[in-house]
């Protein structure tokens, strides 16, 4: 991927935010489980886009790049969280606030109980409708690893759902 040496114009960042902001937020929220960390992940993704100023070949390429950067940022945050155990001073807004609508939210609750590495694959496959080889490229794993994660993630999700919501 080429790097553009000129500075990315301000309206381009707004366009990226308008187009992919929700998707990146969903990805971060599902991976991290709380609003504040998700905001950090999205912001760092946008900053990286601003700093690196990459030249994209297509819209799909742009979206895939953003997903990859965002998922890496989420991993960094999770790693930081594991190494620095913290006590919450005040209750942070979890994902529940965002799906607690009039409809049944048990699927989302069950999804959030699936381990993170399966959650991200399930999100990209079912919500963003990416193909297995595309997900493999985005998360830096082999196709067979993605297939396995998808299979195991589905099984876990089903088990949790049957056990707790049926």
């Amino acid at each position: 991927m080429r790097k553009n040496t000129s500075v990315r114009p301000a309206d381009d960042i707004e366009r990226i935010m308008e187009l992919y902001g929700n998707m990146l937020f969903r990805l971060s929220l599902i991976t991290l489980g709380n609003k504040d960390d998700a905001e950090d992940a999205v912001q760092e993704t946008m900053m990286k886009c601003l700093q690196k100023n990459p030249v994209f070949e297509s819209k799909e390429h742009e979206k895939a790049w953003l997903i990859r950067v965002c998922s890496n940022k989420c991993k960094d945050i999770l790693r930081y969280r594991n190494r620095h155990q913290m006590a919450d001073i005040e209750e942070t807004e979890g994902i529940e606030k965002f799906y607690a609508t009039e409809s049944d939210s048990s699927v989302m609750e069950a999804l959030m109980k699936v381990p993170e590495k399966f959650r991200i694959v399930l999100f990209l496959y079912y919500a963003e409708e990416y193909k297995i080889h595309e997900i493999a490229g985005m998360i830096g794993k082999s196709k067979s690893a993605v297939k396995m994660r998808l299979q195991k993630g589905r099984k876990l999700l089903e088990e949790i759902y049957r056990k707790e919501y049926m």
Partner: protein, 211 residues
């Protein structure tokens, strides 16, 4: 449970407008403050001030060189092992380099023999604790004017006891050497252990003696 439900639920999640504004605001602010460093800008920033950079490098170099000189002068420079390679690049042996400060040499003429005492200053350290017998490798004997009167390759081997060895160099064949002050300059000593390859210990040692 339908996966379709999950998609519907996930797509219902939207980023709050205030969060969007906050993120964009932070991006603009960091850009205004020049916090988005890219490598081009960073490297420019360093070379924009060539004099302070050069001065800093010079100071570092001086400190390093002074340190090395002080270490050498105070005898803190330690020896080290070095692999010996053949023409094909394979390792064929090991030498111990820069051992000048770790070995002390004295020489004394006794009848027709020159007795060279080799003392290891730290006999319990590697490689001195691993060798049993010692010989002198390459050495010269110089007269008072600095002329080379004898150049030899290797002496016989003598046993090491309590970290020191007495090595005898026969001077019988050199009876024509007149009386006076002489100096032996040793560049190699060879340590051996039974069943092991001899170890070449390199350094420069000088000892004066009188005939």
């Amino acid at each position: 449970m339908e996966m379709h439900d999950m998609k519907k639920e996930i797509n219902r999640i939207e980023m709050p407008e205030d969060m969007k504004k906050r993120i964009l605001q932070n991006c603009y602010e960091s850009r205004r403050n020049g916090m988005h460093m890219n490598k081009r800008n960073r490297s420019k920033r360093v070379y924009r001030r060539p004099l302070p950079t050069a001065a800093a490098i010079l100071v570092c170099l001086c400190l390093c060189l002074t340190g090395i000189t002080v270490m050498a002068a105070t005898g803190k420079m330690q020896g080290y092992f070095k692999d010996v390679f053949n023409l094909r690049g394979a390792v064929t042996g090991t030498t111990y380099e820069q051992a000048t400060n770790e070995v002390e040499i004295r020489a004394e003429m006794k009848l027709d023999n020159l007795e060279v005492s080799v003392d290891f200053l730290n006999p319990n350290a590697v490689p001195y604790n691993e060798i049993n017998v010692l010989s002198i490798g390459e050495y010269d004997i110089l007269d008072g004017a600095g002329n080379k009167i004898l150049e030899q390759r290797k002496t016989e081997s003598f046993e090491i006891a309590d970290g020191s060895a007495r090595i005898l160099i026969s001077m019988e064949e050199k009876t024509e050497i007149p009386e006076g002050n002489y100096k032996i300059v040793i560049r190699e000593i060879i340590g051996s252990k039974k069943g092991d390859q001899p170890l070449l210990i390199k350094g420069t040692w000088e000892a004066e003696f009188t005939k």
